[in-house]
């Protein structure tokens, strides 16, 4: 099966090469681009079959190539959790390439996606250091290729996003470059780096037991992988990058890259876990849960200070990554206290939410691409009434956003319920600290759920319902989405409703990944069965409730329509106190920041918000606009001052960069001499 997957990746890469050659060597050769696209899609399907095969065969599969890299080897191994994420990437990435939300004559986005998917897969599959770092960099470059400074025409900060992306991606990589060699060395083979077998993640680390350095490893793993995953407080790049990048980059970043990073973080932590005592494991759970709750709050705090769809969706990813982390943290707590049912609920909720979030966010960003293609903006203050002009986009966006707002019977609530249930069960089974943490988590998650409802009713309600607020949104259509795009949106919506009504399917799929982790951490078969049955029972009740809701709503709607068929239905303007302004004064509707304004005093602590109101100096003022500026609180209050200070300190070394070649040569010679002396000394 692994060879099928590898074959799929190779075909995709071949598709990327063919597609790019159509854009460079023969400028007008659309047929070449088309062939590359078809090849890429075929590769995605083959890869999906391979990954699904590994997922359901149930055993990890390895691949080792004879080709030795300078200090590494091509060693691949794919277990069930990796296969699950790879299958999801092949699915949503393939669907995005199929729907092609970008301009058809631009091959580079197709190329970027076709390179990104195998690179992400390699990040998960590779077990050796050098191949991993190469794949990790390819992911960063594919993301860069997708952005290449293409904000919307109205954006004034084009290019800032690229910088933020590059800097954040490489700060994350910097932490990994420290962590991963250390992990290789701690893996027990001290000559690994010299002998070319610098293998990672296959064997638990050794020699950290009882050492305080263990927490340094944990911190590096969280900072290194958490930066790309968008875990607070490493999410400072989110606002600038999502604001300036095209919407399909958002789909790739939030739907695919963030999830891969998050899983790699958990996998690295799992490698360190055997060295931890029970109490240390409980503290790791606490750390993850607190980071998750912080991500939830800071994510929504950031979202509610912006009125841009892409930025809101980007911040919502931070929030959902937070929920997933709470699930994993709870799982670790459960393991530490040997409360296996809590552990199982935590892990199952985290994995199920991961799947749900990939689906919902891929749908939402694809729909956003349709909006930006159709209207040229993603500013809620300029949109409105899109449901009528973009019916498929509007309906799909509604399904996706209501899913993330926690509406029943849609998918995201079911996974949150598993985590909630785990938290409730842990109140009486995790000891006093675990209990208090669980209560805190339930309350904060409840608050996060409430804020998510504000965020997503605002997104859908202001963007797609009501009247158009600008000429752009009044005259737009969804032709750019095409037949394929509509089909993909339809399938995503179907999957979201399907998993909401029959969450037991999602639970079963998640369990393929959960059971491996569960046994790895010491769970027994009996405990696993009991936990699975409890979770299945809960999910079956959700089916009952979801179906009851659907049937009752449909029945009531039929009854109401039947009543109206017997009487009369008239059409008229919206109630406006008789002033007749609603239709002629669409800008008077609540929009963006005004919808969130009541919450601003609370969330403005988490973000910098400045509202510039033009002063009213005369009885009949002319038209004026309120301007709202917002920045991420972490960037504004922490990273910006910190980086400025670092820049200032590093400025002391500027004297070296005097432009004198002689000085540079002298410095190089000095370095070489110092290294020679060091070699002689050791």
């Amino acid at each position: 099966m692994i060879s099928v997957l590898l074959g799929g990746w190779l075909v995709m890469l071949a598709g990327a090469i063919v597609s790019s050659s159509g854009g460079t060597w023969w400028a007008d050769s659309s047929r070449v681009r088309q062939s590359g696209w078809v090849l890429g899609l075929a590769g995605a399907v083959v890869g999906l079959c391979g990954a699904t095969g590994i997922l359901f065969t149930g055993t990890a599969q390895s691949f080792s190539a004879g080709w030795r890299l300078p200090i590494g080897a091509v060693e691949l191994r794919i277990g069930q959790p990796e296969a699950l994420i790879i299958a999801l990437i092949q699915l949503v990435g393939g669907l995005t390439v199929f729907s092609r939300p970008w301009a058809e004559d631009d091959p580079w986005d197709t190329v970027a996606y076709l390179v990104l998917m195998p690179s992400l897969g390699l990040c998960l599959a590779s077990r050796d250091l050098i191949l991993f770092i190469m794949a990790w960099e390819m992911v960063a470059l594919a993301g860069l290729l997708m952005q290449r400074g293409r904000g919307l025409p109205e954006d004034q900060f084009e290019g800032h996003g690229l910088w933020a992306y590059l800097v954040s991606a490489h700060i994350g990589t910097l932490f990994l470059l420290i962590l991963l060699p250390l992990l290789v060395l701690a893996g027990g083979n001290e000559n690994a780096l010299n002998t070319g077998r610098a293998l990672l993640w296959d064997q638990p680390v050794k020699g950290l037991k009882g050492s305080a350095w263990l927490w340094a490893y944990v911190a590096l793993a969280i900072a290194g992988f958490g930066t790309k995953a968008g875990v607070a407080p490493f999410h400072g790049w989110v606002r600038t990058v999502y604001r300036n990048a095209p919407a399909w980059f958002g789909g790739a970043s939030s739907g695919m890259m963030a999830k891969v990073s998050l899983y790699l973080m958990i996998r690295t932590l799992l490698q360190i876990v055997p060295e931890m005592s029970k109490s240390q494991l409980a503290w790791l759970g606490t750390l993850l849960m607190l980071l998750g709750l912080l991500s939830g709050l800071l994510g929504l705090g950031g979202a509610l200070t912006s009125a841009r769809i892409k930025v809101l969706l980007g911040y919502s990813s931070v929030e959902n990554v937070g929920i997933i982390l709470v699930g994993f943290g709870l799982g670790f707590w459960g393991v530490a206290r040997e409360s296996w049912i809590v552990a199982a609920f935590g892990f199952a909720g985290a994995w199920f939410h991961l799947i749900n979030h990939i689906l919902s966010k891929s749908l939402l960003f694809l729909a956003t691409a349709s909006v930006t293609n159709g209207t040229g903006t993603d500013d809620l203050a300029r949109l409105g009434g899109l449901l009528k002009r973009m019916p498929m986009t509007g309906r799909a966006f509604g399904v996706g956003s209501m899913s993330l707002a926690g509406m029943i019977p849609l998918n995201a609530f079911c996974s949150e319920l598993l985590i909630y249930n785990g938290l409730f069960l842990s109140v009486l089974s995790l000891g006093t600290i675990g209990r208090d943490l669980a209560i805190l988590a339930v309350v904060v998650m409840g608050m996060v759920g409430g804020l998510a409802a504000v965020c997503f009713t605002g997104l859908w309600g202001l963007g797609f319902l009501g009247n158009a607020r600008s000429h752009q949104s009044e005259t737009c259509d969804e032709d750019a989405l095409g037949y394929r795009g509509k089909l993909v949106l339809y399938y995503y919506s179907l999957a979201i409703v399907g998993l909401g009504v029959l969450p037991v399917i999602g639970l079963n799929i998640s369990w393929l990944a959960v059971s491996g982790i569960f046994f790895e951490l010491g769970g027994t078969v009996e405990a696993e069965r009991t936990a699975f049955e409890a979770a299945s029972e809960l999910m079956s009740f959700m089916t009952l409730i979801g179906l009851s809701l659907l049937v009752l709503t449909y029945g009531l709607k039929r009854w109401r329509d039947a009543r109206l068929a017997q009487t009369s239905t008239d059409a008229g303007p919206t109630w406006d106190c008789g002033f007749g302004y609603t239709d002629n004064f669409a800008r008077g509707q609540y929009s963006g920041i005004s919808y969130f304004e009541t919450l601003l005093p609370f969330v403005s602590k988490l973000a910098m918000v400045q509202i510039h109101r033009p002063p009213i100096t005369e009885p009949f003022p002319l038209e004026s606009r309120i301007r709202v500026e917002s920045a991420d609180g972490m960037v504004y209050r922490v990273y910006d001052p910190l980086f400025r200070e670092i820049g200032r300190r590093l400025g002391w070394f500027r004297w070296i960069q005097a432009g004198s070649i002689q000085l540079y040569l002298a410095l190089m010679a000095m370095t070489l001499i110092l290294m020679l002396v060091w070699l002689m000394l050791i």
């Binding site: 202001l462 709503t553 008239d570 919206t574 919450l599």
Partner: protein, 329 residues
Amino acid sequence: MESRFWYLWLIHTTAQLGMLLLLPPFFMGLILRLKSIAAGRKGPPLFQPYYDMARLIRKGAVYSTTTSSVFRLGPPLLVSSLVVSGLMIPLGGMPSPIHFSGDLIVVAYVLAISRLAIVLAALDTGSSFEGMGASREITFASLAEPTMFLILISLGLLGHADPNKFGTEWSLTGSLAQMDLITWVHYGPALVPLSFALFVLILLENARVPFDDPTTHLELTMIHEVMILDHSGPDLALMEYGAGMKLMLLTMLLGRILIPHHFDNTLLNFVVALLKTAALCGCVVMVEVGMARLRMKQIPGVLLSALILAALSVVVMLVELGEFQGLPI
């Protein structure tokens, strides 16, 4: 034994559904009547809301040309979500028809659907007023969410007060089935702040004074009423009916906590439950008569007080569970 169980379940479910579907307008009428009496007027007949609904159902509807299918879906979704949550809340002295471990959270989220339905329908009209109402409604609800969850935790903990009695499931039925008057002797210090916090939430969720004034005529001061300005005919009937159902559900829940009762006679159970709900409606009226609506800026402060009360309830509940059940404090 098995057939008797189903027979009983069927009776309780039918009775609960009947009460849930038939009585909401009655309590709305009762509140109106009590308010009128308190203001020195005779007031409308007790069954006036039934007549109003019958009239609205017979009428046609006017839909704004701005609205879409979302607006039309709002009222049916509102009522169906409340009916489903009603099936999970134990209304009389009996277990609820649907109960399972974890239903506490599901009830909170199903109740939230009714809010989403009304907010989205309001935003669909494209009106400044309704957008304002939607913004206020969803914002205050999100601020009240932590209080709601603390109340649920406290109630859930109560469900573990006596594991021999109703298993160890985290459900509303499990918790409330445990309760009898002696529970108040043991857990009173936790139940008092819980009841106050829940009462504040009931006032907020049902758009009553001091958070909202259901009888105001100025759109700028409204929250709930401004969101249903554009509904007419059967849709308005469903909206009003839903509002009554939410009030009845939450007051019955509070009534069950305040004076727990279990009688063997189903009819007696329901009669007592109705009497308690009527008394709580009286309390709502007393608040409405006794104070004016708060300024919008003061509402978060009141919600914070409710949050503190709910947190206090959880802490005291944990301490008392430690005392009576030997759980770690």
